[in-house]
């Protein structure tokens, strides 16, 4: 299949995953893999099935067919809370902060399954280091944050789980261009600190710059997969997703 920019072994593998919403087949046999240490991006038009892929992995939408294996364990039909425990966390589409909890409480919820108090403290400092704005707003309720602040809080909350695999669903959504740059910088930083990242993005240009490999989804199927650099050069991708002629 594709070349591997990531150095490690396969950490996540989806094999022929079909996922439905009622009778609507949103994923029509998705096969993909993520290697340890990589940043892999899923790009594609609206409704292509990017978010549904993440929701199949995290257990919110159990696939009807196919399998999902994480670190050698089949997690296809495991409930979300067990999947978190195995080391997958995420910043979901729409951010989904707890609106009546403060920034600090939201961040603490990210560490719900952890017992190591000192480790949690460390990670809290790390998140505040990455997003100083969150430290300034730690007593403010999630629901009253600006869109960009909510995005930071959602990413920070996902980091608080100290995941092996971090899934980000459109982290640049609703952010001013300067913040978009900043977010991608932070994604690179998190990755260099050892976290594997599966990144869903509308902003294909930035995503392909940040990732080593990419998958292009089209109506529930993988249309194309390659090295991020080569996808960036691909005629088809440039026309459709990068808005270039």
């Amino acid at each position: 299949m594709s070349t591997t920019a990531g150095n490690g072994q396969v950490i996540l593998k989806l094999d022929g995953v079909h996922t439905f919403y009622g009778t609507i087949e949103a994923l029509k046999g998705i096969t993909l893999e993520v290697h340890e240490g990589e940043v892999v991006t899923l790009i594609g038009a609206n409704g292509a099935g990017k978010s549904t892929t993440l929701r199949s992995i995290n257990g919110l939408n159990t696939p009807r067919e196919g399998s999902i294996v994480f670190q050698g364990k089949n997690i296809t039909r495991r409930p979300p809370h067990e999947i978190v425990q195995m080391g997958i966390s995420q910043s979901p589409e729409g951010r989904r902060l707890f609106p009546h909890m403060t920034v600090l409480e939201n961040l603490e919820m990210g560490a719900f399954q952890r017992k190591d108090r000192s480790g949690i403290r460390e990670d809290l400092d790390r998140v505040y280091g990455l997003f100083p704005r969150l430290a300034e707003r730690k007593g403010q309720r999630g629901g009253t944050l600006s869109g960009g602040e909510q995005q930071m809080c959602a990413i920070g909350r996902a980091l608080m789980a100290r995941p092996k695999l971090l899934m980000l669903d459109e982290p640049s959504m609703g952010l001013a261009p300067i913040f978009v740059e900043k977010i991608f910088e932070i994604i690179g930083e998190i990755n260099s600190q050892g976290t594997t990242i599966l990144l869903v993005e509308q902003n294909a240009l930035m995503a392909l710059d940040a990732a080593q490999r990419g998958y292009v989804l089209e109506t529930g199927k993988v249309a194309l997969t390659d090295d991020a650099k080569r996808l960036r050069e691909n005629e088809q991708v440039r026309k459709t997703y990068l808005g270039e002629e």
């Binding site: 995290n58 257990g59 919110l60 409930p79 979300p80 809370h81 978190v84 425990q85 966390s89 995420q90 979901p92 989904r96 902060l97 707890f98 609106p99 009546h100 909890m101 603490e108 919820m109 990210g110 719900f112 399954q113 909350r157 789980a161």
Partner: protein, 303 residues
């Protein structure tokens, strides 16, 4: 009079909290809750008066204290078991069903639980012997406040403190708050949402069990007692702002007071016959003019 209102209000509060806890987590009005209250109360009568503890008004103080304490615990466990079973059997499969289907199921569960009470405990009202003295604690210008009434407040207060601590400060409480705000987000934080919902129903049921045992100290219970009492407690929960714990207690005490003043002031009040009309008049008025209740927040849905 205000103190008598406080006593009635205390029982309403325990039941109202059950409505509000469940509503908070599932946006579901558990119409069977009042009937869980009645069934737990009936069960408690068999514990106290019947074969188990065999308490009578001549039992020793130690026997009464021990027997009552045990009854509170058993009634709480019983209420918890019944209520979480209802969730497991009926509501769990309807999580993503239309609101109307859930509503009808809840009304159906109410009839089912009521009929179970009727089948086991027939149509007769059950009571317990007067274990707590009806003697006066104090008497202010003809208004007497008795020990049995005081006892109700004495038990309710620590239960409310414990509940507040549980919801505010424990891991389980955090899971409940997160689930009530966004169940999917809670799930991807690693919270076991099904277990959290079961726990919430159990907690609500336990409060109903304790409330029912307290109710028995002053009144008797029949298979259908839960219907009216449940509606009154539900009104209290709506008055305070459904989903809001402090609101439920506040609403319950207010309704207890309204009832006490209405029934107790012989000179100018409409009297007992009108209490229900007044309470449900309040319910309708809140639903029309302030659906979010006293302490609730306005939501796009209006409740």
């Amino acid at each position: 009079m205000a103190l008598i209102g406080l006593t009635t209000g205390a029982v309403y509060a325990l039941v109202a909290l059950g409505y509000t806890l469940v509503y908070g987590i599932l946006q579901l009005i558990n119409f069977a809750h009042g009937d869980v209250f009645a069934l737990s109360g009936l069960f408690a009568t068999t514990m106290i008066g019947g074969a188990v503890f065999g308490l009578t008004d001549t039992s020793t103080t130690l026997g009464v204290v021990g027997g009552l304490t045990a009854t509170f615990v058993i009634a709480a466990v019983f209420g918890a078991a019944v209520n979480s079973s209802i969730e497991f059997v009926a509501y769990r499969r309807l999580r993503s069903a239309p609101r109307l289907a859930v509503l009808i199921t809840a009304v159906g569960m109410s009839f089912i639980v009521q009929n179970i009470s009727l089948a086991i405990y027939d149509v007769n009202a059950r009571s317990i012997p007067p274990l707590i003295s009806g003697h006066t604690v104090f008497n202010i210008s003809g208004v007497v406040y008795t020990w049995d009434a005081f006892f109700v407040v004495l038990v309710t207060a620590p239960v409310l403190v414990l509940l507040t601590w549980l919801v505010k400060s424990t891991r389980q409480g955090k899971a409940m708050r997160a689930t009530s705000q966004d169940p999917e987000a809670a799930a991807i934080m690693g919270i076991n949402v099904n277990r959290t919902i079961s726990f919430t129903f159990a907690l609500a049921g336990a409060l109903a069990g304790i409330g029912a045992t307290l109710y028995l100290v002053e009144f008797n219970i029949r298979y259908d007692t839960g219907f009216t009492l449940g509606l009154i407690a539900f009104t209290a929960a709506v008055l305070g702002g459904i989903g809001n714990l402090t609101g439920a207690v506040l609403g319950a005490i207010l309704i207890g007071m309204i009832q006490a003043f209405n029934e107790g002031l012989s000179w100018n009040a409409p009297g007992t016959a009108w209490t229900k009309s007044i309470v449900f008049g309040i319910l309708i008025a809140i639903l029309v003019f302030r659906p979010e209740g006293l302490l609730g927040e306005r939501t796009p849905e209006g409740a």
